[in-house]
């Protein structure tokens, strides 16, 4: 199941209010902010994961995605800007 990160009503980033242990059913309630990376869209998270799995090589990622190097680098630059905005 996909983790929703945006409020369907007002488009604000959602917070976590409850966590549950799948083993003993212990529940923790609170108001926790999502980590920066989890605030990104699923596609962006996958992109970062692929970047990590490619040992940080944009060239390798471009090869795997059958796209050119500047296309991948541009996407990375856009993502860096997005993360910087989320951190501020």
């Amino acid at each position: 199941m996909k983790l929703p990160i945006i409020c369907p009503s007002c488009d604000h980033t959602l917070n976590v209010s409850q966590m549950k242990c799948p083993s003993c059913a212990t529940q923790v309630n609170g108001d926790y902010e999502l980590p920066t990376l989890l605030k990104l869209s699923r596609d962006d998270q996958d992109f970062i994961l692929n970047f990590f799995l490619s040992s940080g090589s944009i060239k390798e990622m471009a090869k795997q995605a059958e796209l050119s190097y500047p296309t991948m680098r541009n996407r990375m630059d856009d993502l860096i800007e997005k993360v910087k905005k989320l951190q501020n």
Binding site: E66, L67, S68, Y69, P70, T71, R73, D77, D78
Partner: protein
């Protein structure tokens, strides 16, 4: 290959492959220009080759105008995005010229040359212009238009992919620099 790739091959294809294709067409363009008695004195512009000029002059002027365009665009690209690679700018200049290179041999055909010459000679007296010559030149002009537009689209998309520009101010700056580049290149070459 989809429409997106046709209009922006820079987003999909490997830079080395694009460079090889660009260089092959650059060389073909020298022969095409010589056959059509034209010379590329700036990107997207052709001038008539003088009678005493040889294929070496075509090679020299075509090379200089291309290198000049690459240098100017690369300086602009670095100003807009310091991560820009020179190979992406070289590919932008070489690949965007291909549609114009493809139609080059048509402009060298004798019937079109004669029609253009006839119209040029009769400019002082428009009544002497033959209708058939006007039709030939108009048809060629209309046939050239899509190639020219495609060329501009490739030029913009190539630069956009190389630099990742998005702001309208950057796009306007790119257009202004391209225009100045064309004017200066035609003036000095």
């Amino acid at each position: 290959m989809n429409w997106k790739t046709i209009f922006n091959p820079f987003g999909k294809f490997n830079d080395i492959h694009l460079l090889i294709v660009g260089i092959v067409f650059f060389i073909l363009n020298i022969f095409g220009c010589y056959y059509a008695e034209n010379v590329n004195d700036s990107i997207f512009h052709l001038s008539h080759l003088e009678d005493n000029q040889t294929i070496w002059d075509v090679l020299k002027i075509n090379s200089l105008s291309t290198v000049f365009a690459i240098i100017v665009l690369f300086i602009l690209a670095l100003f807009l995005n310091n991560k820009t690679r020179i190979i992406d700018i070289i590919n932008t200049v070489l690949i965007s010229n291909i549609p114009m290179i493809i139609i080059m041999p048509i402009s060298g055909m004798s019937f079109l040359k004669n029609a253009t010459l006839n119209i040029t000679k009769s400019l002082g007296n428009p009544n002497q212009i033959e209708t058939i010559n006007l039709i030939v030149v108009t048809i060629f002009g209309l046939a050239t238009l899509p190639f020219m537009i495609y060329s501009f689209v490739l030029y913009y998309n190539g630069f956009q992919t190389a630099t990742n520009i998005k702001k309208w101010q950057h796009i306007v700056l790119f257009a202004v620099v391209s225009l100045l580049l064309t004017i200066v290149s035609q003036t000095i070459l």
